[in-house]
Amino acid sequence: MKLGYFPGCSQTGTAKEYDISLRKVVEKLGASFDEIKDWTCCGATSAHVTNHLLANSLAMRNIMLAEQQGLDDLVAPCAACYNRLVLSQYETITHPEIKKEVEEVLETKLQKEIKVMNLIELFQKIGTEKITANRQVELKNMKVACYYGCLLVRPADITKFDDAEQPTSMENLVALTGAKPVDWNYKVECCGAAHTLARRDIVLDLSKKILDDAKEHGANVMVVACPMCHANLDMRQRAMKREYPDHKDFPVLYLTELLGLALGMNEKELGINLHTVEFNYKELPSEKAAV
């Protein structure tokens, strides 16, 4: 199975380990990526608050490239990229006048409706049975809080792959690894996103609430599918400790890293050692000891 791949800027920088683990897991599951050649910014944050046409054109340029590369599907692992691509695609499909404008900017006609997939849809497409079949380690010591954040499932009418307020698709994937998803309250709350630079206080407050609620509901690890969320929830824990001295480290993994562990790869291979908060599966208390 060959799938179009749009890494997005985070995968080449702050979320390098997301890229590493994603490629390894996908390969292990028997699929391969065809990276979009000459991909550009998806138009997130800066573009879509500045200029509507610019935002749509940036997003649609990448979709146009996928089309020219003869692809049918396009994977955008970053939740913000996914959101931008899906939204721009929706706008060009439903508004002929926007499509016309975008086509003028791109100097191309958009013909195909390429299926843009997020991380969860990707694994649903590859086939969840392949995860079960290739599983080498049962991650039974992990109690996982699945965190969706705000962009993955919203707007509900457009993303349409899961419930926007009470999603469960990530839990279903996590359960395949033998880990136990916990039921908790903050899975679709905002982490503060790009405020992390300008208003760190907001991000610390919001992100800490998310981590605390996960802990309170018995989780020992959090799983995310968004590089921005990961940056706020993992990288900001140092600042969190300075602000809230009682804060205890809480490991935050990418969904791909969790799957990688279940598929028999080690922490280093998956890039988990690049996280701020250290994580080692072997150091988790075993399920029996916990009881």
Partner: protein, 665 residues
């Protein structure tokens, strides 16, 4: 043929943009026109007298009036023509106001157009045929569908005026939602106390035939002459024998098998039950789905204890037909539930409030039951999950209502008032409790309504927060309600013990099916449409069918009662004469031309086209043709346009008349 033309200036309405004297002058020379005059106000007494005088003096056969829309004054001019001795259907109106002067500004061209319009009318009136009004008999009996407060009021009003009423209610008892309420705004008087006397009055009324646990299956016929088929569902208890002693209920071993829907699922009921103690009629119903007898043929405890041998496990549904003259639809509303809906449903649930999974997040009617002295908690405020008294209650208004993303754009109208009432009732009983209300706007229009809300805020100390709640979740037995205070511009979080949602009032689940059965239009939400939003709010567009209460749109008790009395008055107007007169503008079939394709039958929106057998002299059927029931026909002309052989014609608008009009252009 001698035709008179009368051009009205309508003050300046027509006169400003149409040169009326020139129109009158030009029309003098039209073939067939004997006289052509203009006048400032043709609808005034002198104007009408002018028409009458000319008809008499010149022995006119027909007239054309160039004036406003026929909607306005056709009746006036027809009446004048009748007074002067000509058939009212030999009067034609050329609409020189709405179709000409109001929509144009150039005086020359609009005058030319006005002349054209009059010429067309003249050509039509030449071919008009005198018609006589149709008379249909009236059955002076009323069917009221729905036994809530609106249905009860309508039934009592019609019956007290001396006419028979058949009241059909699908539940085992009448009383509707009002019987579930604890107290009513803005006076805080007990709902049951004011309602039950009315219920008993209905039951004892000699002219009201009460049919509970029954549903309307079929409605045939037309205004004044409906035949209604009603299914009387099997109660499995003989209504004539049962005394309502209730022994079967207390002895029934299936104690907690089904949710009690009267208690809004906050309590249980056995297989044999009456919905509530004051039920009318006080005759139980056996629920086949949970009764042990229907499962394994055993038990029969109720049979053993019943001293009147009233239990009849083998009772079947009964089909009853009733002859009816007027129908009052008073089927009420349903309360929207926030649970998850199917993906394709236009209505969405509230995932952010937990899709109804939190036990202490209740809706308005559930809170009424908790507050009610006859409710599951005997009127003490106890929350459903653990029976503890809630010390902090959050009320959220506009749940569903006014939220396009959830599938509703309308305001449910009563929630602002009942939320204030709820908060007040709570504060009156739990003095150390805190009540918070999240609102978007407070819409408390009505006599003493705004004063009532102010009382909740000022005297009872209910805290009103303007803003929406974005999420509710459970934490350590509390419900964290997170929202926004838009006046303070701050997010707020309240750790409540209980949350009450003022969810939207929606149409009954089977509202559209019933509308199709009766043949009345409804909107996209399933509420029934009135004939005119301002001037005919009680009538449906189907003759003889009237609307009362919340089946038309969300309403409170006083409005429902007022509408019910108005609907009763409308039915009584119908019964004011023995025969109904109606316009003869109906379709008729030329049977010798009709090929019997019945396209007309398929397209008729009123079901007025029937199949008629044509027999030869030996009584053998040799063909089938279409036949128009003039009682049902509304004269829309759809059949005329559809007929491939032009064998259906509309009286007053036949092909010859219409083509002559077109040819005159």
């Amino acid at each position: 043929m001698k035709i008179g033309v009368f051009i009205c200036h309508c003050g300046e309405n027509i006169g400003r943009t149409v040169d009326c004297p020139r129109v009158a002058k030009a029309c003098e020379w039209l073939p067939g026109v004997d006289v052509s005059l203009d006048y400032k106000y043709m609808c005034s007494d002198p104007g009408q007298n002018m028409i009458k005088d000319e008809i008499r003096k010149r022995k006119l056969d027909a007239i054309v009036v160039g004036s406003c829309s026929p909607h306005m004054h056709e009746k006036t001019f027809r009446k004048a023509a009748v007074d002067a001795g000509i058939n009212p259907f030999l009067v034609e109106i050329a609409n020189l106001r709405e179709h000409c002067s109001w929509v144009h500004d150039d005086i020359d061209s609009s005058t030319d157009k006005a002349i054209d319009l009059v010429r067309m009318a003249v050509e039509k009136v030449k071919r008009n045929v005198p018609l006589t009004t149709i008379e249909v008999p009236v059955t002076k009996r009323t069917l009221v569908i729905g036994g809530g407060i609106a249905g009860i009021q309508a039934a009592l009003d019609v019956a007290n005026a001396g006419y028979e009423v058949v009241l059909v209610e699908k539940e085992p008892s009448i009383g509707g939602h009002m019987s579930q309420l604890s107290e009513t705004f803005p006076t805080l008087d007990c709902s049951q106390c004011i309602l039950t006397p009315r219920m008993v009055e209905v039951y004892q009324h000699p002219r009201i035939k009460l049919m509970t646990y029954s549903e309307v299956e079929k409605v045939e016929g037309f205004i004044g002459n409906f035949t209604v088929t009603i299914r009387k569902k099997a109660r499995h208890i003989d209504e004539d024998k049962c005394t309502g002693c209730g022994l079967c209920i207390t002895k029934c071993p299936t104690k907690k098998k089904a949710f009690n829907s009267f208690e809004e699922d906050l309590a249980y009921r056995p297989a044999v039950y009456v919905p509530f103690p004051q039920a009318v009629p006080n005759i139980p119903v056996i629920d086949e789905t949970i009764c042990m007898y229907y499962k394994n043929g055993k038990c029969g405890m109720c049979v053993k204890v019943c001293g009147r041998e009233a239990i009849d496990f083998h009772q079947q549904d009964k089909i009853v037909t009733e002859e009816i003259g007027a129908i009052i639809v008073a089927t009420g509303y349903k309360l929207y539930k926030i649970d998850k809906k199917p993906d394709d449903s236009p209505i969405k649930g509230y995932g952010e409030y937990g899709y109804g999974k939190y036990k202490d997040v209740v809706d308005g009617l559930q809170f009424e039951r908790i507050a009610s002295a006859s409710g599951p908690t005997s009127g003490e405020f106890k929350r459903p999950s653990d029976g503890k008294e809630p010390k902090k209650v959050v009320f959220i208004q506009c749940v569903g209502s006014r939220d396009e993303s959830k599938g509703f754009s309308y305001c449910s109208k009563i929630c602002c008032m009942y939320t204030a009432k709820h908060a007040m009732l709570y504060k009156h009983k739990v003095h150390d409790g805190e009540a918070y209300v999240f609102y978007m706007d407070i819409r408390s229009g009505g006599k003493m309504y705004d004063e009532f809300v102010r009382r909740a805020i000022e005297e009872d100390g209910v805290k009103y927060i303007r803003g929406r709640v974005s999420r509710i979740y459970e934490k350590d037995g509390k419900y964290i309600v997170r929202g926004e205070d838009t006046i303070a511009g701050m997010p707020v979080e309240i750790d409540a013990d209980m949350v009450v949602l003022a969810t939207a009032m929606i149409a009954q689940q089977d509202a559209s099916e019933l509308a199709q059965t009766i043949g009345i239009p409804y909107d996209k939400y399933g509420f029934y449409n009135e004939a005119h939003p301002k001037l005919r709010p009680i009538e449906s567009t189907t003759g003889g069918v009237f609307l009362a209460g919340a089946c038309q749109s969300p309403k409170d008790i006083p409005e429902s009662v007022a509408m019910a009395s108005a609907a009763a008055a409308k039915a009584l107007v119908l019964f004011g004469s023995d025969k109904l007169e109606r316009e003869p503008v109906v379709a008729y079939v030329n049977e010798s031309l009709c090929a019997g394709c019945f396209y007309c039958k398929k397209v008729c929106p009123y079901g007025a086209v029937e199949v008629k057998e044509v027999k030869d002299r030996n009584g053998v059927v040799y063909k089938e043709v279409a036949y128009v029931n003039t009682g049902l026909c509304q004269g829309c002309g759809t059949c005329t346009a559809t007929c491939p052989s032009k064998s259906v014609e509309l009286a007053g608008f036949n092909n010859e008349e219409i083509f002559a009009q077109i040819a005159a252009l």
